[in-house]
């Protein structure tokens, strides 16, 4: 019965990379990150989305520089000479598109649309990014704690998530934005409005990611490496943040890229309803709201911010989907 055991213990198993060392150098080990990057590079749709996202972020960051470069001023340059004084719409075809104003100008006010789209992108992306970060931080923390500790902690946090998910967010946002005065918390003007939007959008969206993280944690905590850490005398913060959190990086990253477009849309909706950042500071939702008055006589005005939102949301979604495929080893 002991026959199958009689193999000398010195026989080493094949070492990774050792097989091909004779044939032109050793094989480099690839980290999980490198594998995900290779897969992402192969996904053209996702890469296209990623490129658009990168361009948008760069454009948003450089909005001020671009304005100077093209001699555009988003809020104060009223090109009244280009507005038809009778109809109050831009002279020329397609909303007054010209070399000086590649996307045309606003009816009545005559402000350059490209400049306003750039300035608006800055606000849209800033709010969407920071609100997403807020959701992700709260959601991850709550999700990990609920999933790892279980019991009454889990019950408490899960019910809290239910409460938040059942919350009429839009109505609350409308009410809160109306109640908060122009000066509050030591902030005022645009800064206050932006902070308020980030708080409203971010603070009420965490349960979505919280649930995903809780579910992942539930399955991760049963893995033996958690027991291994425990049997080495690891403290709970170590297990939560060093052992579990790195394994949650993929869902967190994917969910973030998918949450950003949702938040862009939400910010646009709030601005459209007039509770976002106030004029004259341009936002995409605010521009869309303005354009609604003119859609019969100047449809191009509505098309510009609409397309901006559409392209941005689509690019983020495509990139997020591709990222999910690349990071999930089972979805080959």
């Amino acid at each position: 019965m002991t026959a199958p055991m009689d193999v000398p213990s010195s026989a080493p198993e094949a070492q990774p990379g050792a097989v091909l060392t004779g044939a032109g150098g050793s094989i480099q080990g690839r980290s999980l990150r490198q594998i995900a990057w290779l897969r992402l590079k192969r996904d053209r749709v996702a890469m296209a989305g990623g490129v658009v996202v990168a361009v948008l972020v760069l454009a948003a960051l450089a909005a001020g520089v671009l304005d100077k470069l093209f001699g555009l001023i988003p809020t104060t340059a009223f090109n009244q000479d280009l507005i038809d004084p009778d109809l109050q719409i831009p002279k020329g075809a397609f909303g007054g598109i010209s070399l000086a104003h590649p996307l045309g100008i606003e009816p009545t006010s005559g402000r350059d649309l490209l400049a306003r789209i750039f300035a608006g992108s800055w606000i849209s992306l800033l709010i969407a990014f920071l609100a997403t970060m807020l959701s992700v931080v709260i959601g991850t923390l709550m999700g990990v704690v609920a999933g790892y500790f279980g019991g009454w902690v889990d019950t408490l946090i899960s019910r809290l998530m239910d409460v938040f998910l059942a919350f009429p967010l839009l109505v609350f946002a409308l009410a809160l934005a109306g109640v908060v005065p122009d000066n509050a918390f030591g902030l005022s003007g645009d800064v206050l409005r932006i902070a308020l939007l980030i708080f409203i959008i971010g603070f009420f969206n965490w349960p979505y990611i919280g649930r995903i993280i809780r579910g992942q944690t539930l399955s991760l905590r049963e893995r033996e490496f958690v027991d291994a850490a425990k049997s080495l005398g690891a403290r709970q913060p170590y297990i939560l943040f060093r052992e579990l959190l790195p394994n949650l990086a993929a869902p967190i990253l994917v969910y973030s890229t998918l949450l950003i477009p949702t938040n862009i849309l939400f910010e646009a909706a709030l601005s459209f309803l007039g509770v976002g950042v106030r004029p004259p500071t341009p936002t995409w939702g605010g521009m869309l709201s303005d354009a609604a008055h003119y859609y019969q006589i100047d449809p191009e005005f509505m098309l510009v911010p609409g397309l901006a939102i559409f392209v941005t949301v689509l690019a983020f979604n495509l990139f997020g989907d591709g990222l999910r495929d690349a990071l999930d080893p089972r979805a080959r």
Partner: protein, 327 residues
Amino acid sequence: MDELLTVSGLEKHFPVRRGLLQRRTGAVKAVDGLDFTVNSGETLALVGESGCGKTTTGRLLTRLLAPSAGRIEFEGRDITHLSTAALRPLRRDIQMIFQDPYSSLNPRHTVGTIVGAPYRLQKVQTPQGTKRAVQDLLELVGLNPEHYNRYPHEFSGGQRQRIGIARTLALKPKLIVADEPVSALDVSIQAQVVNLLEDLQNELGLTYVMIAHDLSVVRHMSDRVAVMYLGKIVELAERTALYERPMHPYTVALLSAVPIPDPRRREGRERIRLTGDVPSPLNPPPACRFHTRCWKAQDKCRTVEPPLLELAPGHQTACHYPENPPT
């Protein structure tokens, strides 16, 4: 030999809760009264079918689980109810090898991080730095020290188990609880890992509690064997005595199921087929727990629980009508 570990009356009952108020409606008696000792330098094997409480026992010994009752003494010190903080220094002396090499290594950590974790967690300073110590460990378990920066997914099952063993050895433990250390591996790799464990035992003077269901591996590795059935030890004996003169009918049945590679020898053997399933540990049979499947069961087995008695020197059996009774 010195007794390293003494276990008496060890129990672990998992409560079963039902309904809105989470009322306790019963308990799974995973481990239900174990008594045994582990001597310094030996290998004690715990064998039994799935669900007999082997793994739970292993987790109780390493105090990953808290016992419901009983007493665990390590080097004469009661560790049954030590708090997490009080256990921490003790973790250096009692370590565990895990069953599944695919889930026991964190996929996001490098080999260096995994094997070096014991030093960091226990704040142990090594003379030439942690990296050097880790590389020495990798070499000790037969891996290339240059694989320090690789990730677990780059290794085969056997290599991963070696990584796990290296981590276990980092703190130079006195007792290692090996929970089915080779059952997840290919047979060809099993032999290598088993031999590695043996070499390490000789080299470092380790004491193993080995949990296994493969009787060939147990026969190869262990000094003494404890056979478990439904949360209890039914037979505990020296390896040779147990394999050659098993006394408990359950042990006899288990041994008759071990495949024999030689067809000629196989013919002469009587294969005992146990009928029925293992009864639920939620509601184990009264008295002798094996009586529902035992071909020798009498009325006494259904009413009087057989105590674990030393029928021959060093050979304990819990049976009213043992096989191979001592003459």
